[in-house]
Amino acid sequence: MSNHILPLDDAYTAYLRDESRLTGKAQSISFPTDEASVLEQLEALRQAGTPVTIQGGQTGISGGAVAQGGHILNLSRMNKVLDISWDADGTALLRAQPGLTMMEMRQAAAAFSGRRRVFWPPEPTSLTATVGGAAATLAKGILSGTGEETYIQSLRLVTEDGAVRTLTQGDGLLEQVLGTEGLPGVFTEVTLRLIPEAAEIWGICVFFEDFDPLCGFVDSLCQDKPQELAVAEYMDASLLKLADSRRSTMVRLKALPEFPATGGAVYLELHGDEASVMAAADKVLELAILSGCEDSQIWAVSGASEVERLRELRIAAQELVGMHYDGLEAGLPRLVTDMTFPQESFRDTAARYRDDPAELDIGCCVYGHILNNHLTASLLPQDAAQHAWAVAMLRRWAGISLSQGGQTAGSYGIGSLQRQLLEGLLPQEKLERCRRVTQELSPNRTFNRSAVL
């Protein structure tokens, strides 16, 4: 066995978990630093017939990085930027090892971009998420919009037989492999396409006293959407109250003043040139006032630094929910929805996520993308009994989603958690694709056996 394959003793127990709060088990772990060491280690593991769980930043909330036996291949030390190249239109191709974090990617892009910054639209909200993990789950952050483009140009894939393949946009296989959560093999390089930031970026946060006027605002915004609207995120009253309660202990939130209202909020970003952004902002102001907001309830910032400050509120959602689960008894995994309801309105979905848990006295924070009605409900059970009721509720919601032709798992991944929780209710197209691609590339199911299938 390779001497880089380490027994998983007490020093490495932190690698048995991810943000799903599931805890797994494994016999060994390794930290390859390049493709050659990945190949060497996989060869040794193949000789021993050992299954492998691939790990990046352990920021996933579906348990995809939680091993259930076998070996953990942790790619966090494969974090180099290998190359950055620029097109005449200001687009960048950033080729990196899979363990590069979102924060490191930003820093690398900033170091070379000069005055006109670039960004990666799918960037997940967690800045410690890795490039490889984002590609494996097709993660989507708040800047991803509603389009299907992945902004991944190519990748190198090592399959269970030790073969190395380069997959490129347009070859058909890349699109099949992305989002299959590590089942076909190990990404050893990923090339991302970064696009120029808009010349002018404004962040606007509209706070509401009550749910109804907020829904009215969302309806009017969806009907009369400015072209410059790049981000539209919902944050419910529970999330705002949770943020208020944690304000003094979270660095992210300390820089924000008191919320002018806590019945719910809508966070928007306008991207464009100065004139068009200001015209769009005028429109947003008009819609917010017509929805009953006072001036003091509508925050607005401009410029990248200030927009980052306001984004922190939305980005803090995952961390706030995580803190709740930290206080629960061990073994209770995080319960989060990643469902779509294509036949209903924002109001219907948000109301369901608010009312159903309330009937059972279970806490719940709701946030997420407004424009495609892809909201996230993070359930906050207090104990094992409530956790069980919450699981039942998740399954009922999944049934409703499927009946409307919706997706019951998306960019958070299926992992092992959703596989268990939503058995029989998972998106069939994704399951089929994962089976097909895995059968083609790694038929012995060497990788991430406890996830997805």
Binding site: A111, S113, P257, A300, V301
Partner: protein
Amino acid sequence: MDILVCVKQVPSVSEGRLDRKTGTLLRADLPAVLNPYDGRALEMALRLRDQVGGTVRVLTMGPPSAVAVLREAVAMGADSAVLVSDAGFAGADAMATAYTLSQAIRTLPQPQLIVCGRQSTDGDTGQVSGALAAFLNLPFASGVDTVTPAEGDELLLEQRMGRIRVTARYPLPCVISAENETVVPRIPSLRLRLSAAKAQVTQRKLEDFQDTDPSRYGTAGSATRVVRTYRPPETVGKAILSESEVTGQALLDLILGKEALPNV
């Protein structure tokens, strides 16, 4: 009460990189922002105005692009803005900056209170506010944590002086340097931000000043010049003391050099 707040545009330090050879901040291409200390000073002034009435005017010395921080300040609620800009002001050190500001302020209706931030995140001297007060021949209070209107033409100020807090009455007009780490500057309303984008900004150049001698301004008027900014070299010898070894006497002996540094 008529309040004037001096603000500065600074590079967004959180995104900055250091030149490895010189240790200086690589400013080119960094977004420019309102100096965070001035943001807190402005918030203090706005709260005072909201409490007692009056106006808040903001003033900045810088290149034409510095108008952006004035618009930011107006978006936060300042009533008017002044840009002090002239090619002859470039390269000014703290003293020349303070003199320039004092000359500009003398061309405006006299404020009752002038508020400055504790320091800037790029220059870091913390000297401009005190020098400004001297040039204007006004009382100066540093480290001001809270401001409360008092009877007559006075303010009750709470100041931080290290671990000591001082409460004192200051006559108006005066200059204060704000130091309240807990103040969170307000985020502008969308309406104010939109109107700030079109706000008129008063300009002041050298020719507007009482003293138009160019040798008093910019590099020529500076008593100091920054030769190099660098990270100090790391200490070669280090003492590592366990909790059980740490006593006041042991630390004192180490600091006074009575004990040799252990080999580590």
